[in-house]
């Protein structure tokens, strides 16, 4: 396949253009800092985006709206369990992973046992998770343990640690999708659920694993974000609802399902941060910034659709 046909190319080109336009304004100063910030903040969007990508790959109608609530719940419960005590970082991670596992299983139980459409099931469940987070948080702002906070805001080899975690998870997902039977099953289920079932693919197991994977990823992102920003806030996941869907689609993953794209999610996550900082540095107000962001998202979707092979 030629480079030009790679679906992830466009999101990376857009990210590079936004980066270049921002740096051009400052005549090259601050380029390193901008790239560093983009990697830090982009990492959170990329981690939740990877999870959402797996769900969207399952086919039309599959989307997880419980990501923000799961992030908030995992961040809140993990910080509460750790209680700022040193040496509890791994225990906190364990709590976060358990939260992800629990919410994922609950979501899938609603989808599978009650046959609810995933959009409604995850939406209704997310209200319950949000309540749980409110109840356990009670307005307290517990600081993360010092070591964990240093890790979340620190860097290794000049790259933010959170970006390295995100990169590790991306490689894991890429290997799963491209090199494992499970990945083939997921793509097959997304392309035609009925055909996959008839071909002997355990489609319900694949769906269950996918809905658990997305909430586990959201839980990891919530845990890292709470440590990164010095505490869990009840609205900390809010912006990641639309963000997670946007990075998946801008990244070139087919919304119709059956096709995943890991590098594109990263390109789109960097782009979503860079476009905001570009508009900021050009002095656009909050309103103008939002309008332009929306128009750019639609523009990319249109550009992506015109290079599709006509049916």
């Amino acid at each position: 396949m030629k480079l030009i046909q790679k679906p992830w190319l466009w999101s990376w080109l857009a990210a590079a253009a936004a980066f270049a336009l921002t740096v051009a304004l400052t005549e090259g100063r601050g380029a390193g800092e901008l790239a560093y910030a983009a990697l830090s903040f982009g990492a959170f969007a990329a981690i939740v985006g990877l999870g959402q990508m797996l769900v969207i790959t399952l086919g039309p109608g599959n989307v997880d709206l419980s990501i923000p609530a799961t992030m908030t719940l995992s961040g809140t419960l993990a910080l509460k369990a750790m209680g700022s005590d040193p040496g509890t970082a791994w225990m906190g991670l364990g709590v976060a992973l358990l939260v992800g596992l629990g919410t994922g299983l609950a979501n899938f139980a609603l989808i599978f046992l009650l046959r609810l459409p995933p959009i409604i099931a995850t939406l209704a469940a997310s209200l319950v998770y949000q309540s749980l987070a409110i109840w356990s948080n009670r307005g307290l702002r517990i600081k993360p343990p010092a070591g964990l906070a240093d890790f979340a805001t620190g860097r290794s080899f000049g790259i933010p640690n959170v970006a390295l975690v995100g990169l590790g998870l991306s490689i894991l997902i890429w290997l799963l999708l491209e090199r494992s039977v499970w990945g083939r099953w997921l793509l097959a289920s997304g392309q035609n659920l009925r055909a996959a079932r008839l071909a002997g693919v355990p489609v319900e197991a694949v769906r269950a694993a996918t809905y658990v994977a997305v909430t586990v990823f959201a839980a990891i992102a919530g845990y890292l974000l709470a440590s990164f920003s010095g505490g869990a806030a009840l609205n900390m996941g809010a912006e990641y609802l639309l963000m997670s869907i946007a990075v998946v689609v801008i990244g070139g993953t087919s919304i119709a399902g059956g096709m995943s794209n890991v590098p594109g999610v990263w390109g789109a996550s960097l782009f979503m941060f860079l476009v905001v900082s570009m508009l900021n540095s050009y002095g656009a107000g909050a309103g103008v910034r939002m309008v332009l962001t929306g128009l750019i998202i639609i523009g990319i979707v249109i550009a992506a659709s015109t290079r599709r092979i006509p049916r």
Binding site: L114, R115, I120, A124, I134, I255, V288, I298, T306
Partner: protein, 309 residues
């Protein structure tokens, strides 16, 4: 088939009746003209937004920008429509045309509606911030009068809901064009083969959604008398839940306008019911989620029984 059709509308009615009975049991004083009006007052804009969402779901799409759109309309109503009515009306008309154009573009270029509306939610939200950076504005006098009118015997909120349900039922279920629109959701290709211009039909469905979205924003300002850019953001998810509660489905053009209005009323009432329960505020949101799950579970039992029959 007749039993099936009857069951579909039966369930939303029963769930509304149950929540209403529970509310009256908890708070008998709500069982009055004034009480009912208070309970259902805020349901009118939500019902209109739910109808708007239903128009989109009817043609197999989903609108993630509705909350932002209703907020934008509320901001325009509280500023332009209040200060210079002519300009305000023109802007609102332009917004409806925007929605229609959006529908045509989504169909013509075969774009995923969920993403395009996601992008539009940023656009609407940005415009709303641009018009009204801080909460404020004023409701036009006639709108305020219309939303607080006190008809004899039946509270305004109930009257309005019945009228909305009746008009949209006639439009979507009874009229010829409504049937064709539902056909687009059922099988767009066969509608196209039958000689209908699907692009124009989709534009019509989106245009209707825009129109009802405009009504929702205006009704909201009539009740609250002011607006801000985030006033109706939760309407996006509320409206989707309302359509599904009312017996609609995401695919196949299976929607019910009467059910959608009842679904919106049920969702609004559930919030009041929970505050009457003296439930800790921590759990109010969660209990709403639980009610949603309960009602949908009941629907599952109904449809299963129907399939066996």
């Amino acid at each position: 088939m007749r039993i099936f059709a009857r069951y579909r509308i039966l369930l939303p009615v029963v769930s509304l009746a149950v929540v209403l009975a529970a509310t009256f049991y908890m708070q008998p004083r709500a069982m009055s003209y004034f009480g009912i009006n208070l309970l259902f007052n805020l349901a009118v804009p939500i019902a209109l937004a739910t109808i708007a969402q239903m128009m989109i779901i009817m043609v197999n799409d989903i609108d993630l920008s509705l909350g932002a759109f209703v907020s934008l309309v509320a901001c325009i109503t509280a500023t332009f429509l209040s200060d210079s009515p002519m300009l305000g009306v023109l802007i609102l008309l332009a917004l409806v045309l925007c929605y229609a154009a959006l529908g045509a573009v989504i169909h013509a270029l075969d774009l995923p509606a969920i993403v395009v509306t996601l992008g539009m939610s940023f656009v609407w939200g940005g415009l709303a911030l641009f018009i009204l950076p801080s909460p404020g504005g004023a409701s036009p006098g006639w709108l305020r009068a219309l939303m607080t009118v006190k008809p004899p015997y039946i509270p305004m909120a109930v009257c309005a809901s019945v009228i909305i349900a009746l008009v949209t039922h006639l439009l979507v279920i009874r009229s010829g064009i409504g049937t064709v629109l539902r056909g687009v959701g059922g099988n767009a290709r066969s509608v196209e083969r039958a000689g209908w211009p699907v692009v124009r039909l989709k534009a019509l469905a989106y245009g209707l959604a825009g129109l009802f979205g405009v009504f929702a924003g205006m009704a909201l300002v009539g009740l609250t008398t002011s607006a801000d850019a985030n006033i109706a953001l939760r309407y996006t998810l509320l409206s989707i839940a309302g359509v599904i509660l009312g017996g609609g489905e995401f695919t196949g053009g299976k929607v019910s306008p009467v059910g959608a209005v009842i679904g919106a009323l049920t969702l609004t009432l559930a919030a009041s019911f929970l505050s009457f329960l003296r439930l800790s505020p921590d759990w109010q949101i969660g209990a709403q989620g639980a009610i949603l799950i309960l009602v949908l579970t009941a629907r599952l039992l109904f449809t299963r029984r129907d399939a066996e029959a």
